[in-house]
Amino acid sequence: MKHEVNSKEVVFLTALHWVTVSPFLLAILIPIIYKYTKRIHTGWFVLPLPLILFIFLISNLPDISNGDVMHYSMPWVPSLGINFDVYLDGLSMLFALLITGIGTLVILYSIYYLSKNSEKLNQFYVYILMFMGAMLGVVMSDNLIVLYVFWEVTSVSSSLLISYWYQREKSIQGALKSMYITVFGGLSMLGGFSLIYVMAGSFSIREIIANVDLVTTSSLFVPAMLLILLGAFTKSAQFPFHIWLPDAMEAPTPVSAYLHSATMVKAGIYLIARLTPVFGGSPEWFWIVSVAGLVTLLWGSVSAVRQKDLKSILAFSTISQLGLIVTLLGIGSAAIYFDGVPDELYYTAIMAAVFHLINHATFKGSLFMTAGIIDHETGTRDIRKLGGLMTIMPITFTISLVGLLSMAGIPPFNGFLSKELFFTGTLNVMNYEMIDLSTWGIIFPVVAVIASIFTFLYCAILFFKTFTGKFKPENYDVKVHEAPVGMLISPAILGALVIIFGLFPNILSYTIIHPVMTSILPNITEQIEVNFSLWHGFNTELFMTFIVIAVGALLYVLMKKWSQTQFYLNERDPFNNLYDHGYNGLIKGSQAITRVQMTGLLRDYFVYMYTFIILLAGYTMFRSDAFAVDTVNVSEISPYMWALSVVFILATLAVPFINNRITVIVVVGVIGFMMALFFVQFRATDLALTQLLIESVQVVLFMLVFMHLPKLKKEVFKPGFSLVNMGISIAVGAFVTIMALSAFAMGSEAGFDTIAEYFIANSKELAGGYNIVNVVLVDFRGLDTLLEILVLAIAALGVVSLIKLRFTGREDV
């Protein structure tokens, strides 16, 4: 098999770049399209894009299957090593296909799910497209920083979609929760990426993998790994960060099917898989990833049983299934730990992970869509109200049945195959030659079986509570009937895939699963054999499946007994309390911190700023021993200047001792005019003119605000307070003076030309003006001026809003 890399430096965007960029471009156009085509559902304009992208990607699949890799680089911030590199190998291809494929189906589904008359479709499709582009960016970026940016965009768009029905209190809460948790993880991930850069000297994933020794031998290896895993675990809803996912179910069902089961929550899995070649060889990675996954698997499946809402069951089920995939990735990383031993013992787990990833996307996608259909047609998702829908919604029933059987791990559907492989993977752990694994390794298969029993149980609950039993029309506000055909197409396609992948699993093996494993385990690809079959003979795995079905069925039969226990009645995840306390604490804490420093007194803010500046700059000057006074190159001071200085100093000294406001204004005016005279003396006409104008305008301003100002009264302070303030004032003056003197001394000592020399020499030549001040303003430092007038405009806005939009004191700020 060949492994050539089509690596090219390009200036313009390539077709592969367009794959990630085009959804964003369409997102910009959507509001315009929406505005002018009210009569056609906006979704029809969105639908072609993911379809085209899917076709484009799948047309490149044969190359990827052959082991080729597409890679294009485009400089973005080359000075920082940040390039917009797109990279398409097996792993990226699998995710890109999922994103565009499921994306197409979800958008088709959403056209029938969201009414064009009552929903804000423009917003919905803008967010969805934003997400699609960002998600494609995540899986196709080779550069970690670019990946991070896209990663955060997916978090943001996910939150926006959760809060799509923002009139509902719960939507807002769910959006906030997902935002806090995933962005917290994203930021720590950024920290981890930075550490990787420190170790490997590159942000490019390919280069990092090529120089993996730099990373593995570094002392920063474990911190970087932990930070990155934090990002992956929060995104993929791993225990104990899983609590955001059930609350994310407040989003419209197409979103739940797309973001919160098929694609976005798998970004963490993508990251773990992508970085397995970097971190996978360490025991820490093996333990953290596999144990986190195992706990999530168990916790999710047990919690799912307690839920009464269709989508909540599916949400916890998703958490559990994600845990399953993460466990398998953790177990499979041992293949790198044992340094490329081409042993089926190790890589089977990775194979199972990839296969289950595909299977989960198919059956969970279809289940979410059917749950959405039930919600849409009956108006409720509560399993205590539902029942007997089998005859009323026969197509929905069939699709759900296929999905649920697959999820429960029953042959001949694809979920059975990957669950068998999962059992094989966990059984293999017992044979790993790692410390104590021969004894402790038994935990893996035992937990796997327990979790699978609960998986079987909640599948049974979903099925029997919804479709069997007696149909009670009084439970519904609307007349219940089967969904329109358009709504059934997408789940039907996914359901068909469940069957096809179950009966003919080997159409996937060398087209996509083998290339993906090449990406995850780059060193041992040659020996990997990917082959699935439905029948393995009577082995331990089959025996485990029998236990799962038997015990699961028994538990369902006994449901009447345990459904009265607290376990079932209280469905709230206990970790939500932790989050609630943390959230309240965070708000209280930041309020307390704000109250301490934001006193509302200008005086205090000056104290903070000046103290900080003096300490920082003073320390810097002290460190670099920069204090110097040059007495040689000093010019004469004329008597006129002496006089000016004396008046200047006397006026300044007088200000703190005056108790009359008018007098203060006049004296400050004197200081200003003295300043203007200094400028005149130094022949800086522009500055003098400006200073004079400012002084005049300032006088008018003072007059205007005069009647608003409170009476100037003698305030009584503790002596210490005044002393500290005096100390700070004197320090500021001394500091500025010393800095100016030292700067002058340093300049003349080192023989530097001042920057003025350059302006004098070039102002006419380069900018065609004789007035250097003006040329500097408009030309040499034009950007500064542009931003300064921006500041001025903001200041004007600030004054206007302060005065016109004045608070009366009762508002909630």
Binding site: T685, D686, L689, T690, L693, I694, S696, V697, V700, L701, M703, L704, V705, H708, A767, G768, G769, Y770, N771, V773, N774, V775, L777, V778, D779, G782, L783, T785, L786, I789, L790, L792, A793, A795, A796, L797, V799, V800, I803, K804, R806
Partner: protein
């Protein structure tokens, strides 16, 4: 200040003349900027000072009648002009805010220097004028 009802004839007459002198001078300052003291910032402040002078001796109503437009529009317009001047150079492949100048012979006026810095400075002028007037007049109109 609004309650000031005294009919100060001396002040009114004087301000009528002086404000025009100040205005004319401010426009001169604006154009002189590239080669002599002046420029958008000073010009804008001077113009604002002239208007404020009008406001002080007459009242808001008279000022609004003399200048029947919204001052906050000047801020946005000025920012836009300055920014677009910067963008224009990008259209020709130069970095943002590259300024150009050319000497042109115009009949009866002789050699005249045309620069792209002038529209940029006009932006500065408008923002300074708009901001100064907005701030002063907002405070002045506030009677709470």
């Amino acid at each position: 200040m609004k309650q000031l009802k005294t009919n100060n004839v001396m002040l009114h007459t004087l301000v009528r003349i002086v404000s025009f002198v100040v205005l004319a001078f401010s426009i001169y300052l604006f154009f002189a900027g590239h080669n002599n003291p002046g420029g958008g910032f000073i010009g804008g402040l001077m113009t604002a000072a002239a208007f404020v002078l009008l406001y002080l001796s007459f009242n808001m109503k008279t000022l609004k009648k003399a200048l029947p437009f919204n001052f906050d529009l000047l801020i946005g317009g000025g920012l836009l002009i300055a920014f677009l001047t910067g963008v224009t150079s990008m259209l020709f492949g130069f970095p943002f805010l590259t300024q150009f100048f050319e000497y042109v012979q115009i009949p009866f006026m002789g050699e005249v220097e045309l620069t792209t810095a002038l529209p940029f400075d006009l932006g500065v002028y408008l923002v300074v004028l708009g901001a100064a007037l907005t701030i002063i007049l907002t405070i002045a109109e506030d009677d709470k």
